[in-house]
């Protein structure tokens, strides 16, 4: 009989499983369980009820008196698979009347699944191995990491912070560094920093994956090692501040790294940093950018980090641009479907969720959909193409770079 090891579940998580009132508030708005496929076991309530049932069968009072009950392998595997269909978007945290911190619960549940040999899923294998071997999830050689910057390096003045000290360390992230469709995100971010005469640099080819994918899929040990390697690089570079353009890297370095090691520099997202530059007049947005834009709050920025206003302030500061809001916005924002390893393991599900968000955006009448996360960008771009939508997908920094007044 397989006995589940519950010592990998947090004390607080075990408490929260009992605190769930089974009200179902989370089921209606859950992008994967409720909205996209209506499967109870994928919803927060479904996962809580099932996992609780399993560990109570082995550790509850009845198990203590009559002996633990065997949990069939297929049921355990079903729970594991369904648990990985969650994007960890945090919508359930927003709506839970019992105020349960479900984001922590799902990440911890995956750590528990890994510890019990039930996770991650085979589909995650290539990404995990790629990060462990190449320090990025895209199986790209380390030597190609800084290739995105070659054509702008001199014009913008990007330093190699391991050779030359810079005030600000720009943490590029794997997706913007390697994905040819996303690298403009890194290019535009660097152009914006350069235009504001920010003393900044990158870790170049030495930058490693932030470990977000590992931590989100429950591989805490690998994620911890990845984080420690980066923390060591941060120490060497010793910047005063770190800026990330990737919402996932931002969340990971800001929230997870302090639990792993000491990070001396303050971590900010590029939207916070640029908003500060614009509001203090260090960055002038004088050029008109015509269009109607709607902004999608990435889960890792919004619900995970409560960063809602800065991106909007930037958009409002761009001349010619009209900002319109989707019906579900800020903490109620729909997920893009890519997070938590869902796009890797369940691409069709991810696309279905992304399409729902594209429909939200289309309803506003906007012609531009802007966001600040490479994963949301990737996901929406694919959904826009598949749907044949007239929306133009942009990264927020692309709009900022287009509005910079060089005079």
């Amino acid at each position: 009989m397989r006995k589940l090891d519950i010592s990998k579940l947090d004390v607080l998580a075990l408490m929260r499983y009992d605190a769930c009132t089974r009200c179902g508030e989370c089921t209606a708005t859950c992008p994967t369980g409720g909205e996209a496929q209506d499967v109870e076991l994928v919803t927060p309530r479904g996962k809580i009820v099932r996992l609780r049932e399993f560990y109570k069968a082995q550790y509850g009072l009845r198990a203590k008196l009559l002996g633990p009950r065997d949990i069939p392998e297929d049921q355990l595997n079903e729970l594991a698979s369904r648990a990985y269909e969650c994007t960890i978007c945090g919508q359930c945290t927003t709506v839970c009347p019992a105020h349960l911190d479900t984001i922590e619960m799902w990440e911890n549940m995956r750590e528990f699944l890994v510890a019990n040999g039930l996770g991650p899923l085979p589909a995650h294998e290539s990404i995990v191995k790629s990060i462990e071997n190449y320090d990025n999830p895209w199986m790209q050689p380390r030597t190609q990491r800084s290739r995105w910057s070659k054509r702008i390096e001199k014009d913008v003045g990007i330093k190699d912070v391991l050779k030359e000290r810079a005030e600000v360390l720009f943490f590029v992230g794997c997706t913007a560094a390697y994905d040819p469709n996303i690298k403009e995100m890194a290019v535009n971010s660097a152009k914006v920093l350069g235009a504001a005469k920010v003393d900044f640099g990158t870790l170049g080819n030495e930058e490693g994956c932030c470990g977000s994918t590992l931590l989100r899929t429950g591989l805490w040990k690998s994620g911890r090692n990845t984080a420690l390697r980066n923390i060591e690089r941060f120490e060497k570079a010793a910047p005063s501040m770190m800026v990330a353009s990737c919402a996932g890297c931002y969340k990971t370095i800001r929230q997870d790294y302090p639990r792993i090691g000491k990070v001396n520099a303050k971590m900010v997202h590029i939207t916070t940093f640029v908003n500060e530059l614009v509001s203090t007049g260090k960055l002038k947005l004088g050029k008109r950018v015509e269009g109607t834009v709607t902004y999608h709050d990435p889960c890792h920025l919004g619900r995970h980090n409560l960063l809602y206003e800065e991106p909007r302030k930037i958009l409002e500061a761009i001349p010619g641009l009209k900002l319109v809001e989707m019906e579900r916005t800020r903490e109620e924002s729909r997920c893009c479907g890519a997070g938590g390893g869902v796009k890797t393991a369940f691409p069709d599900l991810a696309q279905k969720i992304a399409t729902l968000r594209i429909e939200d955006a289309e309803k506003t009448g906007a012609d531009i959909l802007a966001t600040s996360c490479p994963f949301c960008y990737q996901s929406f771009k694919a959904a826009i193409d598949a749907k044949g939508s007239r929306l133009k997908m942009v990264d927020l920094m692309e709009l900022v770079a287009g509005a910079i007044d060089q005079t």
Binding site: L14, M15, A19, R22, E25, A80, D101, V114, P258
Partner: protein
């Protein structure tokens, strides 16, 4: 299924066998439980108006066992939480440590903030109000009614059996009329209304987000049975002119309403009805740690823990 299958399964699983190994913890624990039971058994209960003492004794034995089951079940659940990671030491050691910390916390300046969190988020259910006024009202009526009834029950028992407070004992005493008669009926009515809304919503309208399995149905129906049972018992008492129900019937407004449709002859079975209501209430108490109703205890604790403990940085 997993890429880490065999190697990631821990070799050492948490070991069990508390009872034989941890007598140092369980002996005082059982002493506390037995003391609680003893207090229940030795109270004089001079103001319980059953005609045959056998019914009172049967109830007291039942309620003692049920309270013991409730305390042990609750502690077992809390001990199970202590199996998780995030604290050091054995589960029992963690529990004792947590208890000490809680005492220190309650005596600290942060208690005020914890109290406001409790009142706003756990009792007033601020977030639920924003999402659905009907469900908020439903839950507030049940929870509020239950909480006030618990406090009222405690206050009445102490003033009757310990303090011998005359206005609470005398049939026409203000405390008897306003607290024991009107007060209990008011909070009972709150609970009844809330439970009826919950039952109609769950069993008749069945909204998509509601999923009714045995624990959900059992929780609502058992609470409903106890609350309705209380009013029926009161109705029998008033209709049968039983001692304690002879003056100021209108203060027990719900019991009075029930008495209007209750035959006077049922008063002959008042003792039996009293015992049934008492046993059902006691069984409900024993059922709490093993049911969905345990969230009454776990949710406020989880809310406090989430809001008061240092968390990952949230706001930018």
């Amino acid at each position: 299924m997993s890429i880490y299958d065999p190697s990631m399964i821990p070799k050492q699983m948490p070991q069990d066998g508390y009872l034989k190994d941890k007598l140092w913890l369980y002996v005082p624990l059982f002493a506390v439980v037995l003391s609680a039971c003893a207090i229940i058994l030795v109270l004089p209960y001079e103001t319980v108006y059953v005609r045959d003492e056998v019914y009172l004794d049967a109830f007291l034995v039942t309620v003692s066992v049920c309270v013991a089951v409730f305390i042990l079940g609750t502690l077992y659940n809390v001990l199970l939480w202590m199996h998780g990671k995030g604290l050091s030491g054995s589960p029992e050691g963690r529990l004792v440590d947590l208890f000490k910390r809680s005492v220190r916390f309650f005596l600290s300046r942060r208690f005020g903030r914890a109290l406001s969190v409790f009142l706003k988020d756990a009792l007033y259910l601020s977030r639920l109000k924003d999402r659905s006024v009907l469900r908020w009202l439903m839950h507030l009526l049940i929870l509020g009614g239950f909480a006030v009834m618990f406090v009222l029950d405690l206050a009445v028992t102490i003033s009757l059996d310990f303090l011998k407070y005359e206005p609470m004992i005398a049939d026409d005493g203000w405390a008897k009329l306003w607290l024991r008669d009107f007060g209990f009926d008011l909070v009972g009515t709150m609970m009844l209304l809330g439970l009826l809304i919950a039952a109609v919503r769950r069993f008749v309208f069945r909204p998509k987000i509601v999923r009714t399995e045995l624990p959900d149905a059992a929780s609502i129906l058992s609470l409903l049975a106890v609350v309705l049972g209380g009013f029926i018992l009161e109705g029998i008492g008033i209709a049968g002119d039983i001692q304690g129900h002879q003056i100021g019937d209108e203060y027990s407004f719900m019991g009075y309403a029930f008495s209007l449709v209750t035959p006077e002859s049922l008063g002959d079975y008042y003792d039996e009805a009293w015992l049934i209501h008492g046993v059902m209430s006691a069984l409900l108490i024993a059922y709490i740690p093993f049911s969905k109703l345990f969230h009454m205890i776990a949710t406020p604790i989880a809310i406090e823990a989430d809001r008061m403990l240092p968390q990952r940085e949230a706001s930018p």
